[in-house]
């Protein structure tokens, strides 16, 4: 039962990733069709916002994994 759930979850996740991928490509492409008024030069780079979002998210998750290695303790750590 659990296993089937997991497989279902993975399938859903894969579908979601594909759908998201398509959405991302569309949104990235949208950069070409309108004019931005921006404050920083790097905002003109094609796909800056998308790239920033992706990299930040990966960075945050990897940072959190590292943090967890360093600072995670048992739940009763303070009660001992």
């Amino acid at each position: 039962m659990e296993e089937r759930h997991d497989q279902n979850d993975r399938r859903h996740l894969k579908q979601m990733v594909s759908a998201l991928g398509v959405l991302c490509v569309l949104l990235g492409g949208a950069d070409l069709v309108y004019h931005k008024h921006v404050h920083f030069d790097f905002e003109y780079w094609l796909g800056f916002y998308g790239g920033f979002g992706f990299v930040s998210c990966v960075g945050l998750v990897l940072g959190a994994r590292l943090l967890r290695k360093l600072l995670q303790r048992e739940e009763d750590y303070y009660d001992r």
Partner: protein, 589 residues
């Protein structure tokens, strides 16, 4: 008569009536009071109202209503009503009384026109709110509440010290009357009109505000205590204390440069904790901390002397973000509270799949998640972007990047992780009932406000201190924001698929409270044991010396001793004769 009572006092006095009511009538009373108090604020205190009186020669201003305080005044009333609705089932008199006094005190502090009044309400919020934590009635909550109380009362004591210094330096107790005087369409305030960070006194006041606003390293009382409060207590707490602190900063220290760095740091570092905290209400308090970071940055960017136009945008951004934030943060805490109420746990490692049992709660949680993540058409989109724009207008590249990173992180944690962990995935444990009707009603109303503000921001913008020229719905803003969010989602899904996203684990993560929960007790305990041992040693040696001395005295002065025994009369006569003889001889020499 009603307009002679300062805002908030009605709630504090009204709390005194609660013990005389019973059962449902108490809940009705807690719902009616915020309505009555809100109507009083609306009717009797238009912008520009102030009340002053003299106490022991000091001029006090218990009421100072202006466009800045009114924004907070209105949203605090709305939140108080929604919280009371959410807490309809609560029959615990302690919580009900504490909540009303807490809300009243926070409102009193918002409208305080002088520092003494502010101090009194500042302490009252601390003392009343701790009962919402203690009301969990467990050893953990008692200890967390104690730590919370020490920090909060400490903040009040530092505030008082700062006020005394400030009064000695300037002879003024006024608090932010610059705003009161200059909240006209185009303020020309210079630095000197605010408290500003320019003397030991104002530095102490700044520190006191900073503790309550959960500045980095002063923050941990928030994540420590809030998740230990009751289901409804955490919702109350999430609204008032920290937003009062943001308000106080906005009133006293707008444009203080150091706030920009502090705010940007606050917006970023709690995210790493929020991404892994297993207690989801704790994860949400880290997110709360991050949101405060946006507001604190906004206050720092509001430099009226150097960039008056941007300062208006920044103050507007801070005020509107506080307004929207109170609603969506409250909504998210309500949803998590409802899960805790039904399932008895809020640990991510024990939850999952609840969208089947609690579909409405899940839906409202998603509205809160979309709002905090600043999706177009949701409230965060029209408020947070003002602060981010203010950073861009001042060409603060690093701050701007930090705020963008923080936006990504908020979406990742509050927008994806928390709803996914709670409501998606395989269901763990038995099937639960949907949240009760009153909780759903409170969540539905909050969600409706989140959507309404996002779709139609004009009424909120009209409420703000300065005229709003900002246009949230431009093609560039909508598309860039959607790009940011979509790619964040893609990154999350990719990481999840590759098994790189940390799985939920029953554990805690050390934060700055570690210093006063582990080493400090160890040091104090060590010193105590050392002191006890020292005292025992000293008394042992002292006792030995005393015994020795007594033995000596006894030996020489006791009955058999040389000095103590009785001598014969004849012997004494011989000694006297010998002395007289010796004297005679010495005399002739």
């Amino acid at each position: 008569m009603i307009d002679s009572l300062p805002p908030g006092v009605l709630l504090i006095v009204g709390a005194g009536v609660l013990p005389m009511l019973s059962g449902r009538w108490r809940s009705v009373w807690t719902l009616l009071l915020p309505v009555a108090s809100g109507l009083q604020l609306w009717g009797a205190f238009p912008a520009g109202t102030s009340r002053t009186f003299e106490l022991l020669g000091y001029p006090l201003t218990p009421v100072q209503a202006d466009p800045l305080s009114l924004v907070w005044g209105y949203i605090f009333h709305l939140a108080a009503f929604l919280c009371a609705l959410y807490a309809w089932h609560v029959r615990d008199l302690v919580q009900q009384v504490a909540a009303l006094i807490y809300v009243g005190a926070a409102l009193g502090a918002i409208f305080a026109g002088d520092l003494i009044t502010l101090f009194v309400y500042w302490e009252l919020t601390a003392i009343s709110s701790v009962f919402l934590i203690w009301a969990s009635r467990s050893e953990r909550s008692y200890r967390a509440g104690m730590r919370y109380l020490i920090m909060q009362v400490g903040s009040g004591v530092i505030l008082l010290a700062g006020i005394l210094f400030h009064y000695r330096d300037t002879g003024s107790l006024a608090f932010g009357d610059a705003f009161h005087k200059i909240l006209a369409p185009l303020p020309l305030a210079s630095d000197g009109q605010f408290l500003g960070l320019n003397s030991p006194g104002t530095a102490l006041i700044f520190l006191a505000f900073g503790i309550k606003a959960a500045f980095p390293l002063l923050h941990n009382w928030l994540q420590d205590a809030y998740p230990e409060a009751t289901v409804t207590g955490t919702v109350y707490l999430s609204v008032f204390t920290t937003k009062l602190a943001v308000y106080a900063l906005a009133r006293g220290f707008p444009g203080t440069g150091i706030l920009i760095g502090i705010g940007a740091t606050m917006a970023v570092f709690p995210l790493f904790y929020a991404a892994i905290a297993n207690d989801l209400r704790r994860a949400m308090t880290y997110i709360l901390n991050n949101q405060l970071g946006f507001m604190v940055t906004g206050v720092g960017l509001a430099n009226f002397a150097r960039h008056p136009e941007v300062a208006q945008l920044a103050i507007n951004g801070t005020a509107s973000h506080a307004f929207a934030h109170i609603l969506y943060e409250g909504l998210l805490f309500m949803a998590l509270g409802a899960v805790l109420y039904r399932s008895g746990t809020i640990r991510g490692s024990q939850l999952g799949g609840l969208y089947r049992s609690m579909p409405w709660t899940a839906a409202f949680c998603l509205v809160g998640a979309a709002s905090i993540s600043a999706f177009p058409l949701f409230s965060g989109f029209v408020t947070k972007s003002m602060i981010v724009s203010a950073a861009a207008e001042q060409h603060q590249t690093a701050v701007w990047l930090a705020l963008m990173f923080a936006s990504v992180g908020v979406f990742l944690v509050a927008g994806i992780r928390i709803p996914a962990v709670t409501f998606l995935g395989p269901q763990r444990g038995p099937r639960l009932a949907e949240a009760p009707g009153w909780m759903l009603a409170a969540m539905a109303s909050s969600a409706a406000f989140c959507l309404l503000l996002g779709i139609w921001p004009a009424p909120l913008y009209a409420l703000l201190p300065y005229p709003v020229e900002y246009k949230p719905y431009t093609a560039a803003h909508v598309i860039t924001q959607l790009q940011l969010l979509a790619f964040t989602g893609l990154a999350f899904a990719t990481l999840k698929l590759r098994g790189l996203y940390p799985v939920e684990r029953a554990a805690i993560n050390l934060d700055s409270d570690w210093f006063f929960r582990k080493p400090l007790p160890a040091v104090v305990g060590g010193l105590y044991r050392w002191g006890v041992a020292l005292r025992a040693g000293v008394s042992r040696v002292g006792e030995a010396v005393l015994v020795e001395a007594l033995t000596w005295v006894k030996k020489h002065c006791g009955p058999p001793g040389l000095l103590g025994r009785s001598w014969s009369t004849g012997g004494m006569v011989i000694w006297a004769a010998m002395l007289l003889g010796a004297y005679l001889i010495l005399y002739y020499l």
